[in-house]
């Protein structure tokens, strides 16, 4: 019900399909109450009717779902969601409807569903857990659901920096930001609500003799005028991390009709030199019987609806509390013209502060009204009084919002006077607390404390605080409370409204010896789920303390962890949807390859063509076979630019390479290329590749595509850390050069058409390299081969890559050859027994590869000593061999294991494993590379080839890894 003189409700929205109107800017919760909707949700486990309990971010009950389809947004707090034109909100966790929810049967059998029931109940039979019990329980219990479709909503991430981060824009936060801002500090003021002012917006307090709103407006205007202050409303700081880093969630589009171009949320990482936590405090409920009915609202919430939003949450409101806020609430209600049914103050000596019925020393011991409160029973020492009311405001006192101070493992301190935990100083380095979150509950105290803290911080940071901040005159009412945690009586006394945990559950946990507060939390689920126990933690541990006979400080709190409010994974991972997951690297020939319909395969971040299909070809195998034949018989062209290329220069370049490679490069002649093997410090193979000598002090190393980054990092490490005395520089030139393999018997003929250099066998022998002109452009030519054929790699500056690739492939096609992709490249190298990272998988030594002779004993190199350790060489090692299928109709598979023919194919009998396989059109058979125990001595043996995953069980013959042209004659032709 709206109070008189409130703005006109002009915004149309629906709740559960029912059209309603709202005042612009108000929350969904406020709008629902204004429209007389009290029952808005069903509870997590027992499906009890629930209403709106708070007016803030801590709301445990009023969770709704916004939107439909793929972009559905579940578990939205109605107290945070602002209304907008066309808002489509609906209740969740109820079927078939909110009012008649079938699952409410759970509530009737609740005595069997207490804490830990499923730990005890669904023990047997074991198989039923996964197939029956768990699905049934999950169906019955829960909050909102996701669509299970790909969410295309836009989210974003951002980084912020400041001198002082002020967390919370209530009176303390405003004062802190003003003080720090005036001192000249770079300030970010992050505030969860849409409007600054905090609790003051909900109170009828005066500042400097005028309504507090005037002071808020003036202060906000002053802050907005400062270029060094950034105000971020709708922004919740969700976590405190190392070195002054804070996470924050900004609601960017939540309060507006959905727009495709506007992010819904922005996830901020804010780095601050200092932070001031001014997060305020959260009011706590009291555990009395059936304290969860719709219409039972925290007193602070009632004041917010009445004073801030102009909405009466009921027509006859009773107030129940243990502190003066109960009276403040009653006075405000009366001032707004709302009937106060009674004020029940558990303190015996309480005095009425207005014209209302006060029951001092009373407690609410029963409530009634299933879908909405209709009355309460109040018990005093002498009598039970029935009071008719449709709203009950409750105040059990205040808990400082100190969560962030605990994010780095700090523990709060119990304050007996406040009956609350307060922050422990310096729990988060660089963060101080001021105002209600520090246990200072009066406005005047908040303002003073915040100004002093901010001034101190500004001075610490080197800013000059010219004048002492002026503290405006404000409310100084002391906070007077007599703790009241629990009211005895018949019925469940709810502690955690979001997880349906009541007092008996906590007692049961203690009875089952889950007496540690952390164990109690896990046993009962108290404090879990979206609200993380914001309104229940302290009450629950007070009850636990009581039943275990310990004090509250002895009992302690559970650990407050980030995030402070739920953060969508989509916000944290913003920008990473679909292909945004990682950068995409494209070669210069990418467009040309796509133009030839080549399917792309990922190699690290690179995209490389698998094969180039031609008309009439229906399988990749056909294309691959044809491309292999190009290279073996004519000429093929392949983009190899993705291989790492590293410029190594300097007077000590040769010494440096001798140190990182197992073999010697100082002896390499100018204009020559050598194959090199690189070990890790532990003696296993890191990478391989060819390195060319372009000058006395100038080499160009190539690495595999997969290990390019790793090798670059390794070289920098060696240069800077292991051998800082060497005068050498390394620079990646991978991106500078577009490089193409031109391979096949007619490769020389093809290349003669694009370079004027003499590339005859005599002038440019195998492993020769050097600068050449490529159609007038300075390029490089390397006579190296990864196919075993006469082959070259030709490089031009990348700007010409696209053009050269098109030219080379066109020429090759004219000669009867063409482009070849990764599949053919793989076949060609397997036929020749050349390794890739399928073979050098990190567990392999030079000995295993049959390359022990490449580890020079004449010099030291990284990994040499460690490679000599026992166990890294000898017949017990799995050594690289070739395998070929014996029967023609079986496909081999990488990942298969090798067994003795008679052995059972189980793990302990494995003699080796297969790393690469292919169909070789050249040899007309299935072949592969494998690592076989004592393999080199077993050439010619027949073994069992078993791949349990793919259902392959066949025989293969062990052969030498080089299956084609073992003498290597073709490459020198």
């Amino acid at each position: 019900m709206r109070l008189p003189n409130t703005p006109e409700a002009t915004v149309n929205f629906t709740f559960d399909g029912v059209p309603m109107q709202a005042v612009p800017g108000e929350t969904l919760a406020s709008a629902l109450l204004a429209n007389g909707v009290k029952h808005v949700a069903r509870s997590f486990k027992y499906h009890r009717p629930r209403g709106i309990m708070t007016a803030g971010s801590e709301e445990p009950n009023a969770l709704v779902t916004i939107g439909r389809g793929a972009n559905i947004d579940p578990n939205v707090r109605a107290t945070v969601q602002e209304v907008y034109e066309g808002l489509d909100a609906y209740s969740q966790n109820a079927w078939p409807s909110l009012r008649f929810d079938m699952m409410a049967v759970n509530d009737l059998i609740s005595p069997f569903l207490g804490a830990g029931f499923y730990y005890k109940t669904f023990m047997w039979p074991k198989a039923f857990w996964e197939k029956l019990y768990e699905p049934v329980i999950r169906r019955a219990a829960g909050l909102g659901g996701l669509s299970a479709k790909h969410n295309e909503t836009l989210y974003e991430k951002a980084f912020g920096f400041c001198d002082v981060l002020v967390i919370g824009g209530g009176p303390a936060g405003l004062m802190a930001a003003l003080t720090a801002g005036q001192a000249g500090a770079d300030v970010i003021l992050a505030h969860e609500d849409s409007a600054l002012g905090g609790q003051l917006l909900s109170e009828r307090e005066m500042i400097e003799g005028a309504p507090a709103r005037d002071w808020i407006a003036a202060t906000v205007a002053a802050l907005e005028a400062m270029p060094n202050v950034r105000i971020m409303t709708r922004t919740t700081v969700t976590g405190a991390y190392d070195q002054g880093t804070f996470a924050a969630l900004e609601r960017v589009g939540h309060h507006l009709p959905r727009r495709d171009d506007l992010p819904l949320e922005c996830f901020w990482r804010i780095v601050a030199k200092r932070a001031i936590l001014c997060a305020g405090a959260l009011e706590r409920p009291i555990a009395f019987p059936n304290n969860d009915r719709p219409g039972i609202i925290l007193a602070s919430g009632v004041r917010a609806y009445v004073n801030r939003w102009g909405v009466a949450p009921g027509q006859a409101v009773a107030v129940f509390g243990n502190n003066d806020d109960a009276h403040r609430t009653a006075v405000d209600l009366l001032a707004a013209g709302v009937r106060v049914a009674a004020v029940i103050d558990s303190r015996h000596g309480a005095q009425a502060q207005g014209d209302y019925q006060l029951i001092a020393g009373g407690q609410v011991t029963a409530t009634k009204g299933r879908h909405g409160l209709t009355g309460v029973t109040v018990s005093t020492e002498t009598e039970d009084i029935q009071i008719s009311c449709d709203c009950l405001a409750i105040s059990g006192g205040w808990n400082p919002s100190l969560h962030l101070t605990c994010h780095m493992n700090g523990r709060p301190r119990w304050d007996e006077t406040l009956a609350a935990f307060v922050p422990t100083p310096d729990a988060v380095p660089g963060l101080v607390t001021a105002g209600a979150c520090n246990g200072t509950f009066d406005t005047s105290g908040c303002l003073t404390e915040a100004a002093e803290m901010a001034a101190t911080i500004a001075k610490d940071l080197g800013f000059v605080v010219k004048k002492k901040p002026i503290i405006p005159a404000a409310d100084t009412s002391p906070y007077q409370i007599v703790p009241l945690w629990l009211v005895e009586g018949r019925g469940r006394k709810w502690l955690d409204f979001q997880n349906d945990v009541h007092v008996k559950d906590v007692a049961l946990a203690a009875q089952e010896n889950f007496v540690s507060v952390e164990h109690m939390k896990r046993y009962t689920t108290q404090g879990m789920a979206p609200d993380q126990g914001k309104s229940s933690n302290v009450s629950a541990l007070a009850v636990l303390a009581d039943v275990t006979g310990r004090s509250i400080p002895e009992t302690g709190t559970t650990t407050y962890r980030p995030p402070f409010v739920p953060v969508a994974i989509a916000a944290m991972g913003a920008g990473a949807q679909g292909s945004g997951f990682a950068p995409e690297r494209f070669t210069t020939s990418h467009a040309a390859s796509l133009g030839r319909n080549a399917p792309m395969i990922e190699a690290g971040l690179w995209y490389r063509p698998s094969y180039f299909p031609q008309s009439g070809e229906t399988t990749w195998q056909q294309s691959c076979d044809r491309e292999v034949e190009y290279v073996r018989n004519v000429v093929g062209v392949c983009d190899v630019s993705t291989l790492g290329k590293i410029d190594v220069q300097g007077p000590d370049a040769a010494v440096f390479l001798d140190f990182v490679y197992t073999n010697t490069f100082s002896t390499l002649k100018l204009g020559r290329t050598r194959y090199g093997l690189m070990l890790r410090e532990d003696g296993h193979v890191m990478d391989d590749g060819t390195t060319a000598r372009l000058g006395d002090d100038h080499y160009v190393m190539t690495t595999t595509t997969a290990a390019a980054g790793q090798v670059m990092r390794h070289l920098e490490y060696v240069r800077q850390v292991l051998r800082p005395g060497l005068d050498v520089q390394v620079a990646s030139v991978t991106e500078q050069w577009a490089q193409f393999a031109v391979a096949g018997p007619r490769s020389r003929e093809l290349l003669s058409g694009v370079t004027s250099a003499d590339i005859s066998n005599e002038a440019w022998p195998f492993m020769g390299c050097g600068a050449v002109d490529v159609l007038g452009i300075p390029g490089r030519l390397f006579r190296i081969s990864f196919s075993g054929e006469l082959a070259y790699e030709i490089a031009v500056p990348a700007r010409y890559g696209d053009s050269l690739f098109r030219l080379l492939t066109a020429q090759a096609e004219a000669m009867g050859g063409g482009a070849y992709g990764m599949e053919a490249l793989n076949v060609l190298r397997i036929e020749k027994g050349f390794i890739t990272h399928a073979e050098i998988d990190g567990r392999v030594t030079a000995f295993d590869l049959g390359m022990d002779a490449m580890v020079s004993r004449k010099k030291d190199c990284i990994g040499q000593t460690m490679a000599g350790r026992p166990g890294l060489h000898g017949p017990e090692r799995r050594q690289m061999v070739g395998v070929c299928a014996i029967t023609g109709d079986v496909k081999l598979s990488a990942g298969a294991h090798l067994f003795e023919q008679a052995a059972e194919s189980v793990r302990v009998n494995s003699q080796g494993h297969v790393t690469s396989v292919c169909y070789s059109p050249t040899l007309d058979g299935e072949i592969g590379l494998a690592f076989l125990q004592n393999g080199r001595a077993r050439i010619g043996e027949t073994l069992r080839f078993v791949d349990h995953l793919r259902g392959i069980d066949t025989l293969c013959e062990v052969c030498a890894p080089v299956m084609f042209d073992p003498k290597g004659e073709r490459v020198r032709g």
Binding site: F586, L775, G776, L807
Partner: protein
Amino acid sequence: MVKLIEKTPCAGLLPRSIGLMTLAEDAYPAMTSIAPYQGQSRQVSAALKSTFGVGFPSPNRSLLSDRVRITWIGQGAAMICGEAPPTLTGAAVTDQSDAWAVVRLTGKGAEDVLARLVPVDLRRPQFRSNHTARTLLGHMHVSITRIDAKTFEIMAMRSMAQTLVHELSQAMENVAARG
């Protein structure tokens, strides 16, 4: 005779204007990385200065002359952008003219765009004109230099040009959408 055709890294991708901002390719005719050998820094810097009027930059700085911009790109290394340097004896000199996609982001909101992608403080008081940083943009290694109050130069690996443009465009759209 057949001629090879040049293609810049962002060919077909840029320029783009979104909101009040523009993203355009700014390909230098030549880019050369230089890394002085041990004990050669002064001599190399002097040689650069006599040729171009600016020497070797200190870390996180970029130096501008009428012929070149020399930008620090990492430990003991800098990139000469604009013209190829003269023969330098005391340094490793590597042609990088084709290795980098170089773009300029300019306009009101450019700082906000980069704040969505780059984890270092690029706000003006901290990061003035001719300040430079080797950092991340999204998941990419980049070099970012402030040119003036509202213009940044961003260098990324050539092969990542498409991702670079995509990331920046998306952030520009996000910033523009906020109005």
